[in-house]
């Protein structure tokens, strides 16, 4: 059988891969270079597994598509008002601009539905090469990469599909680019020992609503209610065109709470009178969840390339928590990778000699600079856990019951010296001006505590029942579809699960995979008087949260096959 071989192989058809492909095709066209590209995407269509907020600085889009405003680039709106809002149980306080971090000001930025952007970029790419026979772009939607093929210490390509047994199921390339959010590329990080400190993950859950009110162009980022138990996170509300609104919640997975129930945190968020006002009379259109790499600078791998391969986007972890911007940086990482690969093609050198320059180029550019300046941002909150567990709730109590001023006083009086030193400390770390050297933290999974006392989530009253959904009902709106016999999550050892269940049940807590699942996949069932771990795989939205939080490293989420999984279009 003929070897299936390309010059360039992309694993994952997300925003970073497509940016790289666009840049590469542009350069090849300008220089009359013939080029064969393949893009593997596990989703049924390009974009169907893509989910993001998303409000983005248009700088990378402008770079790739200078005429994006007139060429049909899908935009949900331009941000006209941007607020950082603090939520109590009853009140909402829009922070004045001098208090809120300047990076959170999104005025003039683009509000996007990333799944639609990816779909557009895909068709635009096909269109671009239609009349250039020397450039081949083959799109393989519905085909995930299952494992990496090495040739000694260099990456030769990937094995497509877990059922693949023949040579014909392998795809080889001179350079393989991993824009796969770590699904497969984590293998490279382990094999070549590239990890600095482990990635800090958060999970984002998002709903899109059709509303009576037109909120287009309005952007809110919130902290406070309903996350009042110390978990790091916040909410967002973006007004889209056509009277739609995106409502989401992001929670750090390094929480001590083993049962975050992210979709239910989002429901609690929606119960707030301030959110209720926006969505009343509306209709839920879609639901989805996705993980977010929040670690930043120190969670980046030591090298961004190995012989024959480059890692980009979320697989690398270029998201900047300061300002919560990932889309522009993921795109820029793709654009930069595209340029380096073009150089490699011209030099015919696909070793780290050329590909290794990708790190330098990216880190010398604005992506690296911004990541560097916010290198302690996540660490600041990691070190000052009291911010989210004590000070913020104290402040909100004052805000809810009396006034803003009382809120401040309340927080200060609770522990004057600590509060002041914390605030100064936080400011210093967030700005990144003082250097304290590389930081370390443990894997997210190590923070959950079996003996954690779960407090009942802060409840508010007066919400409309029709706007609130159980997680089981929400999954219906993720439109997941799997084929008969699908087994995409590996559970390595059932005994390990049983012991874990016993450990957490001793303290009447849920095990993390059940407690943190965004789609009711994991479940503990009782059979013959014994508890065991059970999975409703047909619900899975492919977010990978369970794998990250499993205390025993006993779960592995594999990419969906045969075009199965959720349908995130519109999210």
């Amino acid at each position: 059988m003929k070897r299936i071989e390309y010059d360039i192989l992309f694993v994952g058809g997300g925003i970073s891969s497509l940016s790289a492909a666009h840049r590469l095709v542009d350069l090849a066209r300008q220089n009359n270079l013939s080029l064969r590209i393949a893009i593997l995407e596990k989703g049924k269509d390009f974009g169907s597994h893509v989910l993001s907020g998303a409000v983005s600085n248009p700088r990378s889009i402008k770079k790739l598509f200078p005429n994006y405003e007139t060429t049909g680039f899908p935009i949900e709106g331009k941000c006209t008002t941007s607020y950082m809002t603090i939520l109590g149980k009853k009140k909402a306080w829009d922070m004045p601009s001098f208090l809120s971090p300047p990076e959170m000001n999104k005025l003039g930025y683009l509000i996007l539905s990333l799944s639609n952007v990816v779909r557009w970029m895909t068709s635009n790419l096909t269109e671009k090469v239609k009349d250039t026979p020397s450039i081949v772009v083959d799109l393989y939607n519905g085909f995930p990469a299952n494992s990496i093929i090495y040739n000694g210490n260099s990456v030769a390509g990937v094995r497509v599909d877990s059922t693949g047994i023949n040579e014909g199921d392998n795809c080889y390339a001179r350079v393989t680019i991993f824009g796969d959010k770590g699904f497969i590329s984590r293998d490279i990080i382990t094999k070549f020992n590239l990890a600095q400190t482990s990635q800090k993950w958060a999970v984002g859950v998002k709903e899109v609503w059709e509303t009576e009110k037109d909120l287009s162009g309005k952007v809110w980022h919130t902290i406070g209610y309903p996350l009042l138990e110390g978990s790091f996170g916040g909410g967002f509300i973006y007004g889209l065109k056509d009277k739609k609104v995106a409502i989401g919640m992001i929670v750090g997975l390094d929480s001590e709470n083993p049962a975050l129930h992210p979709p239910q945190i989002l429901q609690a968020f929606k119960k707030h009178p301030w959110v209720q006002e926006m969505i009343k009379g509306g209709k839920l259109l879609k639901y989805g969840a996705s993980i977010i790499p929040e670690g930043g600078h120190y969670s980046l791998p030591k090298e961004f390339a190995v012989d024959g391969a480059i890692i980009i986007g979320d697989a690398l972890g270029v998201l900047d928590l300061k300002g919560f911007s990932g889309v522009d940086k993921a795109m820029e990482s793709g654009i930069t990778a595209g340029e380096i690969i073009f150089e490699a093609l011209q030099k015919k050198d696909f070793s780290t000699g050329t590909l290794g320059q990708f790190k330098q180029k990216l880190m010398d550019g604005w992506v690296g600079k911004e990541l560097k300046s916010s290198r302690y941002y996540r660490y600041a909150f990691h070190k000052n856990k009291k911010l989210f567990s004590n000070y913020l709730p104290n402040f909100l109590k004052g805000l809810d019951n009396y006034s803003l001023f009382i809120g401040f006083i309340n927080t200060f009086l609770s522990n004057p010296i600590d509060t002041i030193s914390s605030v100064i400390n936080l400011k210093r770390m967030m700005s990144g001006k003082t250097d304290i050297g590389p930081v370390k933290w443990q894997e997210d999974r190590t923070y959950s505590r079996a003996d954690y006392k779960v407090e009942a989530m802060a409840e508010v009253k007066g919400f409309s029942k029709n706007t609130i959904y159980s997680t089981a009902d929400l999954v219906f709106y993720a439109f997941t579809h799997y084929h008969h016999g699908n087994r995409h999550i590996d559970e390595f050892n059932a005994d390990v699960c049983r012991q874990c269940i016993q450990k957490y049940h001793t303290y009447h807590n849920e095990v993390p995979c059940v407690g943190d699942c965004t789609a009711e996949v994991h479940e503990v069932r009782l059979k013959d008087n014994k508890y065991f771990h059970f999975m409703n795989l047909e619900n899975c939205v492919q977010c990978c949260t369970c794998e990250i939080v499993c205390p025993e490293k006993n779960l592995k989420v594999n990419p969906a096959e045969h075009g199965s999984g959720p349908d995130f279009f519109g999210l």
Partner: protein
């Protein structure tokens, strides 16, 4: 397989309006095929599956044949991705509005045109016409034995053993090749496209000579069919009247209540307020 002639398999397939797309009813009630999204008739997937299974087990050359307007070539490409070898697109303006009699006439002429074949496979029926007549009619015209509603089959030499679905059970039959088989949709689970097959199709679609070797466009003249026996003139079937019954869709409502009683009350309330009373709803 050296020295042994490969089995020749013909699979008849059809492109139908996508059942999940909303567009597609003309004001006069006929289906607007140009506007509707298109797909491969789902029943035909089982016929293709059987052909590929035979190809993979005993070796065969699989030719898929479809009759329709030029865009129908899409379904041929899809069959290549599943592993078929050749495709024939019978396209001719004079075929428009053919009923099952005229269609079967034209398709049997394609079989003659292709020369000897060992197995002809068809789906059970289509999702647009739903007649299940064309397969058996082709067999009659060709004077071939036919096995309808076939679930399973095995081939030993020139003998084919098949399991048919019949009411309340199944029936085992044995037949000598050549034969026409309509494949039931209770047949084995469908395989997924293989990466190698999809990659090969992308490759040959880029090379015009290769592509022309794999896909052949034929007209009534090529296959030597009599135009007066096809199309509207060759179709005795008269469509009396078509009318629109309504539209599928609307929104889904999930009832959430404190108790099941309350949920049921809500459901009854909703059925009443939506114009149709419960009695009418049940009697309808």
């Amino acid at each position: 397989m050296e020295g042994v002639a490969l089995l020749k398999i013909i699979v008849f397939i059809k492109q139908v309006p996508d059942t999940s797309s909303k567009a597609g009813v003309n004001p006069d009630g006929t289906i607007n095929r140009a506007q509707a999204r298109r797909m491969l008739n789902p029943f035909d997937r089982y016929a293709i599956q059987k052909a590929i299974e035979i190809k993979r087990s005993v070796g065969a050359e699989v030719t898929c044949v479809t009759m329709g307007p030029p865009p129908a070539v899409e379904v041929l490409i899809e069959t290549f991705e599943h592993g078929a070898d050749y495709g024939i697109l019978l396209t001719d303006k004079r075929l428009a509005a053919s009923d099952t009699l005229a269609t079967a006439y034209a398709l049997h002429k394609v079989v003659h045109y292709l020369g000897d074949s060992d197995i002809i496979l068809t789906g059970l029926q289509t999702t647009d016409g739903d007649t299940a007549q064309v397969g058996p009619q082709i067999a009659e015209r060709l004077g071939l034995p036919q096995i309808t509603y076939c679930e399973q089959l095995s081939i030993t030499g020139r003998t084919l053993r098949a399991r048919r679905v019949v009411e309340g059970g199944h029936q085992e039959v044995e037949v000598n090749l050549p034969v026409l088989i309509t494949v039931a949709n209770s047949a084995t689970p469908l395989d997924y496209k293989r990466f190698a097959d999809v990659a090969a199709v992308k490759e040959f679609m880029r090379h015009p000579e290769e592509r022309d070797k794999r896909i052949k466009n034929v007209s009534l003249d090529t296959i030597g069919a009599d135009p007066s026996r096809t199309g509207l003139v060759g179709s005795p079937t008269v469509v009396g009247k078509t009318w629109k019954l309504g539209e599928i869709g609307g929104s889904c409502v999930i009832f959430k209540g404190e108790s099941i009683e309350r949920e049921v009350e809500e459901l009854i309330e909703r059925l009443h307020t939506n114009g149709k009373g419960i009695e009418e709803f049940i009697n309808a």
